[in-house]
């Protein structure tokens, strides 16, 4: 039985939903996109064109909730459904949109470029704990106009996994859908077997920006899954109470879902977020705080209650190094996310308030994720008797159970076998191995993964089309060439 963490009672969930509905009416939602406001007004919302505030009555929202798919899948390049949104499925992917990477040798944060994203992709591609890739960092060696889609371009060329991505403007979201369609062999194929989900962010408190609501409508109409990333900041851009933040999160998501479903009913959308408490000493947004994880866990419970697939940003740290703080925060929040049954948990690999990415952290986090995944499998009943059947031939000697066939058959089902990231050696073996700490071991593992990486075999025609498409956009942005990618030659 999958163990489950529940921070909210049924009664409390209902109060949260009830107050969220109240927020949709008072103060209402500020919707900065003309078309979205029109959709809401046509559906019966009271819209003030001066303040841009829409007061959205419950019945419109409930109608939208009725048409939201309770489950959907993401597919890999080969068309296999490898990610499941909905129910209590739990999956992990690396965090998205970092702006720097942690240089493993200098320990400095370095502005991310093409080679850095490729390095992350190669590592994540080979780690089974990550069900999906993400457009992990922004590459600063290409024009700003193509920052968002260029990340997706690199992912598409280096990975077969499903992708968690997102656009940075209303103009580019369509380009990114076009790129996915190229690699899926057409828009119909993409719609039928979506390869990617797009993060779309409301702006706290209670604002759907022109860009956010614009993206929601495009994605809905194209039939490509959207993932709302609502980020109430408890104490600054949201009520200071955790329950208040969860309620604001619900209101922002409900408004987003309404706009989305009004654009195209039945399109897939996710109840997700990246909330945080507001740190009252430094003014930061601690992703590793337990209260942040509590907001995540709780809003996911609300999402489940409403029957919408869920997402959260967990498994990251605010530390600047891969130290104990990084381990505690990443591991604890990943475990809380898993126990909350959140469908997609993004954040692995990230440090420093989601600003910085690290391939070395990805391989370490994978072990925390593996622990969480083992935890989710729960206590398993493998045998008819729990213990009594094991004692035949056991002669009050330690080690007797090692000789049982059933031990060999079951030990790997009961025990997760960690990689060498986790040290379980004796002090002598550890010293003989060079007295390496976690970070040292992670550096070695990353090197191994980079050496063993093989670029997936993709259709060369699709690859050239994709390349031409992105090169054209780069030229329009005033830059004639794209950075050279090792091992690639495009006709």
């Amino acid at each position: 039985m999958q163990p489950r963490l529940s921070l909210l009672t049924q009664d409390l969930i209902e109060r949260i939903v009830d107050e969220a509905y109240q927020l949709l009416l008072k103060p209402g939602i500020k919707v900065q996109n003309d078309e979205a406001r029109k959709l809401l007004a046509d559906a019966g919302a009271q819209v003030d064109e001066e303040t841009l505030v829409a007061k959205i009555p419950a019945q419109i929202v409930k109608a939208a909730l009725n048409t939201v798919p309770r489950t959907f899948k993401l597919y890999d390049y080969d068309g296999n459904p490898t990610v499941e949104y909905g129910g209590d499925a739990v999956q992990f992917d690396p965090g998205s949109s970092g702006i720097s990477v942690l240089d493993p040798d200098t320990l400095e944060q370095k502005t991310a470029e093409t080679a850095d994203l490729i390095r992350l992709l190669k590592v994540a591609e080979q780690i089974p704990q990550y069900a999906a890739q993400s457009t992990a960092v922004v590459c600063h060696d290409v024009p700003k106009e193509i920052h968002d889609l260029y990340r997706l371009y690199l992912v598409l060329l280096h990975s077969k996994k499903p992708i968690v991505t997102g656009a940075f403007s209303n103009r580019t979201v369509q380009f990114m859908i076009d790129m996915l369609a190229i690699m899926s062999g057409g828009l119909d194929n993409l719609r039928e077997k979506p390869r990617a989900v797009f993060d779309v962010c409301p702006s706290p408190p209670l604002i759907w920006s022109n860009f956010g609501s614009g993206n929601l409508m495009v994605l809905a109409r194209m039939g490509v899954p959207a993932e709302i990333v609502s980020m109430p900041l408890a104490g600054a851009a949201a009520p200071v109470t955790l329950l208040g933040a969860v309620t604001q999160h619900a209101a922002e998501c409900l408004a987003g879902i309404t706009i989305h479903q009004l654009a195209k009913a039945g399109s897939p959308i996710v109840w997700g977020g990246a909330p945080a408490i507001f740190d009252m000493r430094k003014g930061g947004t601690p992703m590793g705080a337990v209260e942040t994880a509590m907001i995540d866990s709780s809003y996911a419970q609300v999402g489940k209650y409403l029957g919408v697939p869920t997402h959260a940003y967990m498994g990251a740290t605010d530390s600047k190094r891969l130290d104990m703080q990084a381990g505690i925060e990443s591991g604890v929040t990943a475990m809380i996310g898993a126990l909350s049954g959140i469908n997609m948990i993004s954040g692995s690999g990230m440090l420093d308030f989601l600003l910085c990415h690290s391939a070395e952290k990805l391989v370490i986090d994978a072990e925390g994720v593996a622990m969480a995944q083992r935890m989710l499998e729960g206590m398993k009943i493998h045998t008819e008797t729990l213990a009594t059947g094991f004692y035949e031939g056991v002669n009050f000697k330690g080690g007797d159970f090692l000789k049982q066939k059933i031990t060999m058959q079951l030990f790997q089902k009961e025990q997760h076998m960690p990689t060498e990231i986790i040290d379980r050696d004796s002090i002598r073996g550890w010293k003989a191995g060079g007295s390496l700490d976690t970070f040292d071991r992670a550096k070695i593992r990353v090197k191994q993964l980079l050496a063993s990486y093989k670029r997936p075999e993709l259709d060369p025609v699709q690859e050239s089309q994709l390349h031409a498409f992105v090169l054209d956009l780069s030229k329009k942005a005033g830059v004639e060439t794209l950075p050279v990618i090792d091992g690639f030659e495009f006709a």
Binding site: G398, L402, K403, M408, Q412, M417, E420, S426, I427, R428
Partner: protein, 216 residues
Amino acid sequence: MSEELYKEMAQSIIDGDSDISAELARKAVELKIHPLEAITNGFVVGVTYIGDQFGKGDAFLPELVMAGEAMKAAIAVLEPELLKLGESREMLGRVVLATVEGDIHEIGKTLVGTMLSASGFEVIDLGVDQPADKIIGKALEVNANLIGMSALLTTTMVRQREVIEELDKEGLRPRIKVMVGGAPITKDWVDKIKADGYSEDAIGAVKVAKELVGKA
């Protein structure tokens, strides 16, 4: 024909399947394959393979132990046949194993015994809580060329030194070599008590034992 059978034999050890390894041993007897050839060309190949896999981290203790058990089952069938032929297996050496006095931990020591015997040593395992005179007495009685001693506790590892000192007093070394093992054992300790060898794990112990008897 026998090539196929040898492969199956090796595989039965790798699979840790005592029923099949014993059955293949009987089949070898029926086919009049020389028991020593069955052991060397068949079963031992499996033990070596699983030992290598373990060393690389690709096999785990249950596989190792089951391989040892499967080896034991095959030998149990082949050894009497060998005696019937008036021959015996040339063993790599004769080892007396024990956990030292005051210490009752034996999982590691038993593993070492399993792997030593699977690798061609004759192993006499005295069990746990064995005082120095018992260990030495047995070694003399069976004319052992190796003593292996285990200790899990820092409080009992000192007993390893007692055995070595006693052996030296009686002038029994270097005729009898001593290897030690156990969680608290360090290289420093081994040097300090002048033991002949030690190892981190059961596979390493086989290597050390082979070196000590000059059969590496």
